[in-house]
């Protein structure tokens, strides 16, 4: 068994060496280098396009998805080796997308064969870019408070309403959204998980400018949008909350677990620079950095341990809320410490430190606030009483 894995390692290393375009090697990971794919995608370079196509052909955009949908059909150990070797080679991720992170896992668990066959190959190939439509204005953490409604018009759904915080909605081809399909049912019921093409007439988007200056999120409006019924709903009708909950848990593990680039690629030492220079004799920054480093290493081990638990079949369950909580708060601490350590240098937008610092403040809000995570832990994991 280990031998087989070692063979796999050799094979992957050789494949990367043979296929990775030299100019992509060791690129910094940022919005200028990430490949998101989709109909509107403009490749940053021929090399980026080549790398995506080669990886897709080898099943490396979605290593653990079934081969029939363009995945790699790998085991967890193989995926880990792949990740190691990619890192070792300084290879960029060939493709990032909400289709890979969110919709794919939902379809693999809840989708019909037809839905899987229709959507998964488009995701693995990077041909369709998805966005997520959960939050609504005024709902905030109360995700089940869905007001966007879909009326049954016989052959189609008529969708009206508004979503907010839809990441990159202005760049996406399609959206998976929570819509209310039964207005009589109690709050958590009567919601369905619906797939909608963003090019359908009546769908418009407006970017939201953030305090960091960037606009990764949008408001998305649905104005008498007609959605053909065929394959529109994932999972059971009116049980979209189940799909959403599953994905929220998945998202928590991903965000807490360093997905989406939360865990910085650089070490704290690299981010801070010469500690003696910046902190001098100041024990405050020094102590904060030491504590952060201890906690960061231990949190990294915790992500490993939780993966081990998940792998063992025991299931992590609601405790995944802990990863989301701790990982995001840790990143906020890190950004504060880096800002502080870099002093007045960091206060100029052009240094590129302030934007990620400000962006990090959203980590503990998006995908379920820290407060919601603590509620989940106390109620579901610790089983503390509600009265």
């Amino acid at each position: 068994m280990p031998d087989k894995l070692e063979d796999f390692r050799t094979e992957i290393a050789e494949w990367i060496a043979a296929n990775l375009p030299e100019e992509l090697r060791g690129q910094p990971r940022n919005e200028d280098t990430i490949c998101w794919g989709g109909r509107k995608w403009q490749f940053r370079s021929q090399a980026q396009k080549d790398w995506l196509e080669r990886c897709h052909a080898r099943g490396l955009t979605c290593p653990r998805w079934p081969v029939e949908y363009g995945g790699g059909g790998m085991s967890r150990d193989e995926e880990k080796i792949l990740r190691d070797e990619m890192n070792r080679a300084g290879a960029p991720s060939p493709l990032e997308s909400f289709g890979i992170w969110m919709l794919g896992p939902a379809l693999l668990k809840f989708g019909t064969d037809a839905q899987k066959a229709e959507h998964l190959p488009e995701i693995t190939a990077g041909r369709i870019r998805w966005c997520q439509g959960y939050s609504e204005p005024g709902a905030g953490s109360d995700l089940a408070n869905v007001q966007t409604r879909a009326e049954d018009m016989g052959d189609h759904w008529l969708v009206n309403g508004q979503k907010i915080w839809t990441s990159y909605a202005d760049k996406a081809d399609k959206i998976f959204a929570l819509v209310r399909t039964d207005r009589e049912a109690p709050k958590h019921l009567g919601i369905s998980f619906m797939l909608i093409d963003m090019e359908t007439p009546g769908v418009t988007t407006r970017p939201i400018r953030l305090i960091s200056g960037a606009s990764p999120f949008c408001e998305t409006f649905f104005d008498n949008v007609k959605v053909p019924k065929e394959g529109a709903i994932v999972g059971e009708m009116n049980r979209g909350w189940d799909v959403a909950k599953y994905l929220l848990t998945h998202e928590r593990e991903m965000i807490g677990g360093g997905g989406g680039g939360l865990i910085a690629g650089t070490t704290l030492s690299e981010a801070i620079g010469d500690m003696d220079m910046v902190a001098g004799a100041d024990p405050v920054i020094r102590a904060q950095a030491m504590e952060l480093e201890v906690d960061t290493l231990a949190f990294g081990l915790t992500m490993e341990r939780y993966k081990d638990i998940a792998e063992s079949g025991a299931g992590v369950g609601h405790a995944s809320a802990m990863l989301k909580y701790y990982g995001t708060e840790l990143n906020k601490r890190r950004q504060e410490i880096v800002m502080s350590a870099r002093g007045s240098d960091a206060l100029d937008w052009s240094e590129g430190l302030a934007a990620p610092w400000l962006r990090s403040k959203a980590n503990s809000i998006e995908g379920g606030t820290s407060e919601v995570m603590l509620d989940i832990i106390s109620k579901r994991v610790l089983e503390l009483p509600s009265k």
Partner: protein
Amino acid sequence: MERLVDTEDEVMLRDAARGFLDENAPVSAFRANRDAGRAFDPGLWREMAQMGWAGVLIGEEHGGADMGHRAAGILAEEMGRTLAASPFLSSAVIAASALRAAGSERLSQIAEGAALYALAVDEGPKHAPDLTAMEARPEGNGFRLSGRKVFVADGASADRVLVLARSGEGDEGLTLFDIEADRAGLARGAADSIDARDFATLEFEDVEATGDDVVGEVGGGLAALAPGLRAGQAALAAELSGLTAGISAITLGYLKERTQFDRAIGSFQALQHRAAHLFAEIEVTTSAVAHAGRVLDQAPEDAQLAVSVAKARATQTAKLAVMEGVQMHGGIGMTDDYDAGFFMKRARVGAEWLGDYGHHAAIVAAMRGL
């Protein structure tokens, strides 16, 4: 020692300032400046000067109102509350205090609001006047200044610059100069500061300075600068204290209005306890800020401990307030359309300017034998 509560005069001053600023410099005015790429509104500054704010620390013989440091702190607090941008700290507090101690004749120009000053002291990412490396090379009866100053508040818009440079070895080898900002060899580059205020980098290349430009004594730069730095640190602490009050009021309002899960979010006990803890921190910081102003007015030479306690506390409390502010608002607090981010960015700049938390905590520790 005056009590730590506002006197009747101070209550009147605060009310007047608040009324003026709410009317003329609300946060929306700061936003308009930011959107226009303007660090501050010169018209507003003229009005402030007419009310005597530019001369708050300047003697009546130079046309100042001579109200003292606690009064300056009250003005700074109120400006912090609405993020009112002006050259108040650089000119009316820092430069006025340093030049007053040196008996400069330029005080009347500051009191009129006519001369805008900037203090050029930092050279690296952290405030460390004693480590100043910028060269003041003796030449003839004067000096030639060469080197680079960073993080110079109001540096791009200033008419004159107070600059600390090295004329010799050690702490006794620093000299403070007062020169016009357009003197030959001095190049200024505006930074793209996250708080949308004027911070600049100043490059000095063989800039001529005469003996007349020296503030205080040659080699006595640290001593000449000290009154300005102390006054600036105390007033900046006051501004941060006001900023904290501003964001906290917005946050408390939101906690009371915003409903989620069918109840006001301010009714959730976990948020209540955090808001209550923040209140406690604010109360403790408020005392330190008021005290620093009092000591500067009554025993300025002994004020460093009080000033450093105030700046350290104000820095930490502002950080807590803006972080809780954004988090308690949720997504909307992250949007540029909402004001919370402005408070967060200014708090970060205020944390670094004139010495960060560790700088001032170290002063406190040393003075307290730790």
